[in-house]
């Protein structure tokens, strides 16, 4: 009991510490990053920096798992790797995840160790290196209008009386420090005259006329995030292998080969919430205890297709709750032990709740419809995103 309370207190302290550290950041971070916008399910499939997971907190077999990418570690040590010309060359390393896990018993004592590797064969979600994404942004009609407006303003301001303060004021506007309504009249008039001069910029003209608190930075961020969110709905396919060694067992006693595929199925729809197809499959090789000696002669196949329903907030479309429904099929290739079945069907449900920006609490439920068994697990996942911070450090 004391152990459980200690565990929960540790998790809560960790959560608050993460928040406090984030609040101490000297650079305001109004921009949502890919990690903070990504669904919890996506970050579970492939992590882009570090993830610390406390799995099965209420189960006798708890797991403390650390997942990371080698590139994140290397880039943290040598930030020059983040410069685009070098960054692009490390795509393979960024698509690789490694993990280490400690298994703990009900008294939080060491009960085993796990290690694994995962590689993304198809990763169309990494917009940071996709030229296609850059082209999508640059060819967006609204973005083109804003570029044209910017060119027009920068061309006109030098010819206005007192151009220096006007240029500083315009810069404050583009950086989002002041809204359209707070601009001086010559700047407002010039913008309106340009926006009203063509049918192609009519929407911009009407927005400026009707919205005095129009904020350029918020507008461009919103456009960018919308396009990024659509891009993050592309396909991701990973393959990997994990080994778990329980206490008093030999190494490679429980080897799992796994693969997972996720892809959004409503990419271009205007709906607020998303639907994500999630298919996972694994082949588990374990020791056949009925045979003498050590072997990996017992094979269990598992296939789990599911749908993840992502509920996003209205304005910034950031997921705050995810509901995943899946079916599970298990097949034993070898002899069946007593009280075991050759084939099993399960119904699974996972509720993921975001409690902080990068901390998710997934609650898993498994139901065996044939025998009426119900199991539940509660986990905590903390995703760390420090690449952006490292990039900022380059220029401090």
């Amino acid at each position: 009991m004391i152990g459980k309370i200690t565990g929960i207190v540790m998790v809560l302290l960790f959560c608050f510490a993460t928040t406090l550290i984030a609040q101490k950041s000297p650079i305001p971070n109004p921009i949502l990053t890919a990690d903070s916008l990504a669904t919890g399910n996506y970050k579970d499939v492939l992590n882009s920096f570090f993830q610390l997971a406390f799995d099965r907190l209420t189960s006798p077999d708890k797991t403390l798992k650390f997942t990371g990418t080698p590139f994140a570690v290397i880039a943290k040590l040598d930030t020059v790797l983040l410069v685009d010309t070098i960054y692009k060359k490390y795509r393979t390393l960024r698509n690789l995840n490694y993990s280490f896990g400690l298994r703990l018993d009900s008294s939080y004592r060491f009960n085993g160790f796990s290690a694994g590797l995962k590689y993304a064969i198809i990763n169309k979600r990494d917009e940071t290196v996709q030229n296609a994404f850059v082209k999508t942004v640059l060819s967006n009609a609204a973005v083109k209008q804003l570029f044209a407006l910017n060119n027009q303003m920068v061309a006109k301001i030098p010819a206005m009386p007192n151009p220096w303060p006007l240029m500083q004021e315009y810069s404050n506007f583009t950086m989002g420090l002041i809204s359209f309504g707070a601009l001086s009249k010559p700047l407002q008039d010039t913008m309106l005259a340009f926006a009203g001069s063509s049918d192609s910029t009519r929407a911009l003209f009407e927005t400026l006329m009707q919205t005095p608190d129009f904020n350029m930075k918020r507008t461009t961020d919103s456009l960018y995030q919308d396009m990024k969110m659509n891009f993050n709905k592309n396909a991701l396919w990973t393959v990997g292998v994990t080994d778990t060694t329980l206490k008093n067992q030999y190494v490679f006693a429980n080897v799992v080969f796994h693969t997972e595929f996720i892809k959004s199925i409503n990419k271009y729809s205007k709906t607020k919430n998303d639907l994500e197809l999630n298919i996972r499959s694994q082949l588990q090789l374990v020791d056949d205890t009925l045979k003498a000696g050590r072997d990996l002669g017992r094979a269990v196949f598992n296939f789990e297709p599911g749908i993840n329903w992502v509920l996003n907030t209205k304005s910034i479309r950031k997921s705050y709750l995810e509901l995943k429904f899946s079916g599970g099929y298990y097949h034993l290739f070898n002899r069946v032990y007593a009280n075991e079945e050759q084939n099993q069907l399960w119904l699974n449900g996972t509720i993921r709740i975001r409690i902080f920006n990068d901390i998710w609490v997934p609650f898993e439920v498994k139901y065996d419809p044939r025998n009426g068994n119900l199991f539940g697990f509660i986990n905590v996942r903390a995703n760390f995103r420090a690449l952006a911070g490292a990039a900022k450090q380059l220029y401090k």
Binding site: L146, N151, I157, P158, L387, Y395
Partner: protein, 139 residues
């Protein structure tokens, strides 16, 4: 028709147009800010002057890729335009005080723009992942 063009060319005074400086006496004429300036072949040429300088704009994209286009304006007329699709420099020659530079682009990670001459606003300017939209007035 061809003759009329030939006759029109010597009558032009491109230097007068390009030498206009903000705040100078030449700007006493009332100007209509809402009309686009006329773009001619001569106005696209940056005229050399004793106070002209070469300006270098350095783009550094980190944690992702980026693209940017810089446009150099003099008296509202576009006189040079260059694009960049990875970290590096854009160089504008014959830049004068009062010229303005607009920068449009996108970065998927983090971007820093540094201009090697005094400008308003001051550089370097940093941009988080998103659309880059800014402008500078050469001091």
């Amino acid at each position: 028709m061809a003759k009329s063009v030939k006759k029109a060319i010597p009558k032009r005074k491109p230097q007068a147009h390009l030498s206009l400086q903000p705040g100078s006496n030449a700007t006493t004429k009332p100007t209509n800010h809402t009309n686009m300036p006329k773009l001619t072949t001569t106005s696209l040429v940056a005229e050399s002057a004793p106070h002209s300088l070469q300006v270098s704009i350095t783009f550094t994209f980190t944690g992702g890729i980026g693209q940017a286009t810089s446009l150099l304006f003099r008296n509202g007329v576009l006189i040079n335009m260059q694009s960049i699709s990875s970290s590096g420099n854009i160089r504008f020659s014959e830049v004068q005080s009062g010229d303005s530079i607009s920068v449009n682009g996108v970065c998927t990670g983090h971007a820093v723009i540094v201009i090697d001459t005094p400008t308003v606003p001051v550089s370097p300017q940093q941009f988080a992942a998103g659309i880059i939209l800014t402008g500078y007035l050469i001091q």
